[in-house]
Amino acid sequence: MLAYAFRRVLSAIPIALIAVTVCFFILRLAPGGPFDGERALPPNVLANLRAHYNLDQPLVTQYFIYVWRLLHGDLGPSMVIEGFSVSRLIAIGFPFTLTLALTAFVIATAVGLLAGMIAAVNQNKWPDYVLVLGVMVGVIIPNFLMAALLQLWFGVYLKWFPAGGWVNGSWMHLVLPVTVLAWPHAGRISRLMRGSMIEVLGTNYVRTARSKGLGERLVLARHAIKPALIPVVSYLGPGLSYLLTGSLAVEQIFGLPGIGKYFVTAALNRDYGIVLGTTILYMFIILALNLIVDLVYAWLDPKVRYR
């Protein structure tokens, strides 16, 4: 197990490095730069700016400077916002994004598991149909449309929750964004759970448990739930990374102060520092999540370890 973990971690390092390289060069090979404003800057100012951010050096040198800094944990400065470093931006925006995504993740996973179980136990009865409908709504309607509809209905007509914006520490402002974010995730989880639960309920050992006289509740709690969880576990990692990127969009729509707000603006301004820094941060999170899922899987299923 330890050897497997070691191998997996080692193989993740080159992937991360290559991905950083790809991001860096794609961003730089594109036309335009951070200082192409509406008004052209005087040439000497422009030259000084470019020298300050090392933009006057050959691309390969810039790349090595960037990677060197990155290895020291420095994501570099923002090139458009004065005196603002990418790490500071992440320190300001990321905790909020993480809170939003994790809240949605916990709620959605809990709701999804429960709904999937209820639907599986009541297969082809009304709770099952209600669930299928709910899943469909969540998976089909894209998040920006769902956001608009919820804002209109609960924010404007019913006035239950604020339609957007953020007041520090007010959970009311989080209800609609979290719902938008959590719904599709809960839908996918419950669909997986329903499927695997139905399969497990048809197995021989569940029949044995029933035939030896265990009550339905005990059968579920002791024999059915654990094996049914395995396919769901494998979705949790990708699911969380999906929520983290999805929250960029939701923040943009609801005007919340996470990283998403800065990212789109930064991309439009060609603020290389912020775009690259955010992308790399997300990439590392996704890689780390995949790694964790792989390790959990190897722990659950020993066959994986000896491939």
Partner: protein, 306 residues
């Protein structure tokens, strides 16, 4: 005729029947799949609806009294008005919403079609090559896919679109170039098992080169999973395009797409609800039907995977 036994008589009879073409016919796999698909009511209804949407989106504009960028100065921000021919109302610039929704649907459909073709083409060739050659080639190619999976995909599209300008063609290709990853994985998995089959061995014995084998013998056998997955990719592409347009990075004015229309409709939906409801209705119907078709095809082509 001498020597005719009872058995011969039956065989002759059957041969005659075959010659008259009223022998019991076998059913091909395709026919089986079609029968299963036709029996799936939701899928059939969805196919009809999607065909209708496509027809109306491309033919409809010729029957609508207003053009999609034509301004009617006498009707600005007006609710649906049948006398003037504004069946879905007008927007803040006095443009007819029905004409705009039709144009937007057209645009979304074109993006979906082109991007799907791009993603299928890349994914199938990539996956088949990786699976067929195996070994080190496979390991390297699939590692690349892993790396691309690790890139946060929507950020990547945003970067692509912003950096290379808002060219619609680039938008199509950019979205398609990112959606091929899962396709490549599925195709690789199928190829790994297909290449062990006898017909591939026969082709190799007959002297066919690796690329001939891939294109002539392996790719045609991948049709089932590819069709299923491509149908399921279309809604994802439509959502990606609408999302980019929603952020203002997609299709540019005066042209429009369903996402652009929704992004303009959402902020004013309180006073001008028709501006949000019309494009939202079309988008949701389209996505719902495409999902049902994908599920139906999966059940029909791959019944064991239910």
């Amino acid at each position: 005729m001498a020597g005719i036994t009872g058995k011969d008589a039956i065989l002759t009879d059957y041969a005659n029947k075959l010659a008259r073409l009223d022998a019991p016919k076998g059913r091909s796999l395709t026919q089986d799949a079609l029968r299963r698909l036709v029996r799936n009511k939701a899928a059939v209804v969805s196919i009809v609806v999607v065909v209708l949407i496509v027809l109306v989106a491309f033919i409809g504009p010729y029957f609508v009294p207003w053009g999609y960028s034509q301004v009617d100065w006498s009707a600005i921000r007006k609710p649906p008005d049948f006398d003037k021919g504004h069946f879905f109302g007008t927007d803040q610039n006095g443009r007819d919403m029905l004409a705009r929704v039709l144009q937007g649907t057209q645009m979304s459909l074109i993006v979906a079609a082109v991007a799907t073709v791009v993603s299928v083409a890349i994914g199938v060739v990539y996956g088949a090559v990786a699976g067929y050659f195996g070994g080190r080639v496979d390991a390297v190619m699939m590692r690349i896919v892993d790396i691309m999976y690790a890139l946060p995909y929507i950020l990547f599209v945003i970067i692509l679109v912003v950096m290379f300008g808002r060219n619609p063609v680039l938008l199509f290709v950019g979205i398609g170039a990112i959606e091929w990853l899962t396709m490549a994985r599925i195709v690789r998995g199928q190829t790994l098992s297909l290449k062990e089959k006898e017909f591939v061995e026969a082709a190799r014995a007959g002297g066919a080169g690796p690329f001939t084998i891939i294109l002539r013998h392996i790719v045609p056998n991948l049709t089932g999973p590819v069709v299923i997955y491509a149908t399921l990719t279309i809604p994802e592409i439509i959502i990606a395009e609408s999302f980019l347009s929603y952020l203002g990075l997609g299709v540019q004015e005066p042209q429009t797409s369903l996402g652009t229309l929704i992004s303009f409709g959402a902020p004013v939906a309180e006073v001008l609800p028709w501006m949000l409801l019309a494009p939202a209705g079309v988008l949701v119907t389209l996505l719902l039907c495409l999902t049902y078709i994908g599920d139906g095809l999966r059940d029909a082509l791959d019944p064991k995977d239910r």
